[in-house]
Symmetry: C2
Subunit: 431 residues, 2 copies
């Protein structure tokens, strides 16, 4: 199956910055980009798509999500953090079963595909259900069964939790033509005993696992860890071996300079979640500093309960402007930086080295941005338009591994009305 | 002409908070809302519109804009402020004539109507051209001819500038069935002499004028004023009589507590511009504090050159979350607060007392939000959806004074293709 995009403007990454190749051809053969050039390509073409007035770019890699939490969208907004979690979120989550997780995942997939997201890193219960939905939909995901453990004497429960992760890994890692990868996940320092964190890190190290954690999201978490253990959360994870395998840490709002040095030396990736950090009142991660140090920083939405959407265009926009305001410096976090965070840095974080930019030989994870809307005129600087002016609704096509999954409001693998019906059923049970 | 919306969910403001009346009728007679209720209304209906799955609410009042600056969208993004202004913005603005202003205004009107904005407060050159475009389009606007003056000895030029404002006021104030109001405008402390600021304030006071200014946008501006005059910009304006008439001040990022007391005691309104304040690195206005004191704070986009769009849904979202992050408090700037800022507070600021909320007898400035998209499901809390989850593309209808000007991507009074053509022509001249 060979698809040809013609009359396309293409955003490519060369020599450390993005530039636009105007009015060119891009061919997709199977799941890969096979040609980019000014001349009509050789060989048979199955489908030709005219991209006049559209910009093709890499799809987005949403590197921190709890996707079934779309079922809790808007619940308890504006409440204090603990009240929101304990009185609203946890009682609803207690009622969740595989059926609701499946409906919630599918709703999240509808949303993410419409926003140009091709792959996401998730951390939630019942990940085998999420894996099934992702496989069916044709998307990509890095999934985990996060461990939480509050009692160091609960040896049997801890062993079961670890066994669940290994079972998920054995069953789903590299499934669906490599679209699904299984990561490991220690939820956070404040939700785990040292014992299980150490044992679980060892299991991750034995495999090719990628460790997904929450790290120093709030001042409270950070300071309480120092009081309890005499070390920062970063030191705690590092001492327990969690960074001896490849790892990535969400939030990282309250890191100290010495923490960043540890993350850099251990090759730990960071996920910046600007909407969530703002909405929940967590604060401002030192993103430009971490990038300048050489830490790979990607972007994520966090779950929709604390965002309240899964919109990577919005995250790019926020990442590009809030740090300017906080540091009173208009030059940091520029368009090149945030576009790379949302695409190439994310693909690298997920261990998908042949993804995240449009070049020959890479996987065909391609989105089209329609430039026809008034808020995207005039077209003087496409990178600025994507970063500062666009909405995710400007994404008019999302292709994953060479297959168009979303185009102009329609889905090729997902049944929107059926998913809405299932979500309504879930809501009736949960609320 | 009588329009009936049926099966509508309607966002209304009662007892200090917003609530949704489900599945009801709303009738529009001429330019006013004539009925809201559960029963089919009496009398002849000309047009009936089924609003199933849509939420009706007040349109948005964008209270600080330089709308023709859409022609500079994306130009010089990420540059330091002075370099951006002096090397990019000013040389392009020097080439602007009435033709380009007209094309730019019309592009801005296309964008604003698609984003649910019904009225805006503008400050730019050639406002009579903007007035003409607004009158033709059926929108509302408060327009000004801002004065700037750097030389206290240029008496003739200053008199001419003041005369221009008065001429604009005489020609356009209350024009187009009251949709167009003419305000006065001293651009800013740092761009004006005391002499013209005082003389111009007197002219404003003689009429029913509303004074539109930039105030304490940056630390630099604020501190340089104190060094030069021994007083803050707020004290400077107040001493010159600029607050003796009704007035509103954009930005207000670096106000001191004593400045806020002056604004409160003089009844000066404030416009918060979160995108612009973040992107340009200006900082965080103390919005929740000003609201708590009783100052009327509305929202604005600023010009598209420093935003880079005219999207009030985005401004609501930013206003609702960035201050949580800055103050590490998730409970401030809640959904009720920012929806009111974008609607009722804005209408009040503009002196449009019969606008800004859906109630019988008010002007029919109504927008419809489609709740059909995945990022707006499930519908548990409509206020949270509008504030935290929506995009402005979810606006599917914009009605101003009882006339539908925008619906599902189509305009009833503006010719999009013609405007795009005119904008391309302007761009060829400017760049």
């Amino acid at each position: 199956m060979k698809t040809l995009f013609k009359n396309a403007d293409i955003l490519v990454f060369e020599n450390g910055i993005y530039s636009v190749i105007k009015n060119t051809y891009l061919a997709v053969d199977g799941d890969k980009i096979s040609y980019i050039g000014k001349d009509f390509p050789d060989g048979k073409i199955d489908i030709t798509k005219d991209m006049t007035g559209k910009l093709l770019m890499s799809g987005f890699y949403n590197c921190h999500n709890h996707c079934p939490m779309v079922l809790l969208r808007g619940v308890g907004s504006d409440l204090p953090l603990n009240e929101w979690l304990f009185n609203k979120v946890f009682p609803i989550e207690d009622k969740l079963t595989a059926d609701e997780i499946y409906a919630g995942t599918n709703l999240a997939l509808l949303e993410m595909l419409a926003c140009g997201t091709v792959s996401f890193s998730d951390m939630y219960f019942e990940p085998q259900v999420t894996a099934k939905a992702v496989a069916e939909a044709g998307m990509k995901a890095n999934l985990t069964r996060p461990v939480q453990s509050f009692d160091p004497d609960e040896e049997a429960k801890d062993s079961f939790r670890i066994a669940q992760s290994i079972e998920l890994y054995n069953e789903w890692n590299n499934a669906a033509d490599g679209r699904i990868l299984i990561d490991f996940s220690i939820h956070a320092e404040y939700t785990c005993t040292e014992k299980i964190a150490r044992a679980y890190s060892e299991e991750c190290n034995k495999r090719t696992g990628l460790m997904h954690i929450h790290l120093s999201e709030t001042v409270k978490e950070h300071n309480e860890c120092k009081e309890k253990y005499g070390k920062t959360p970063t030191q705690w994870f590092n001492d327990l071996g969690a960074f001896d395998s490849r790892a990535f840490a969400a939030h990282c709002v309250t890191l100290e300079d010495s923490d960043m040095e540890i993350l850099l030396s251990k090759g730990v990736n960071v996920v910046h979640n600007p909407s969530s950090n703002m909405k929940l009142g967590s604060g401002f991660a030192k993103v430009q500093k971490m990038l300048d140090m050489g830490i790979n920083v990607a972007l994520g939405t966090d779950g929709a309960a604390s965002n309240n959407n899964l919109d990577m265009v919005e995250e790019m926009h926020l990442a590009s402007i809030i740090h300017n305001g906080y540091s009173q410096d208009a030059t940091i976090m520029n368009a090149d930086t945030v576009i790379k965070m949302a695409t190439l840095n994310g693909a690298k974080l997920q261990g998908r080295d042949d993804c995240g930019e449009l070049k020959v030989g890479n996987k065909a994870d391609i989105i089209a941005i329609s430039l026809d809307k008034p808020h995207l005129r005039p077209v003087i600087d496409e990178k600025a338009l994507i970063t500062y002016s666009a909405q995710s609704s400007d994404v008019c096509m999302t292709m994953v591994d060479g297959k168009i999954l979303y185009e102009n409001g329609e889905y090729t693998t997902l049944d929107k009305e059926k998913i809405y019906f299932d979500v309504e059923k879930a809501i009736k049970k949960l609320y």
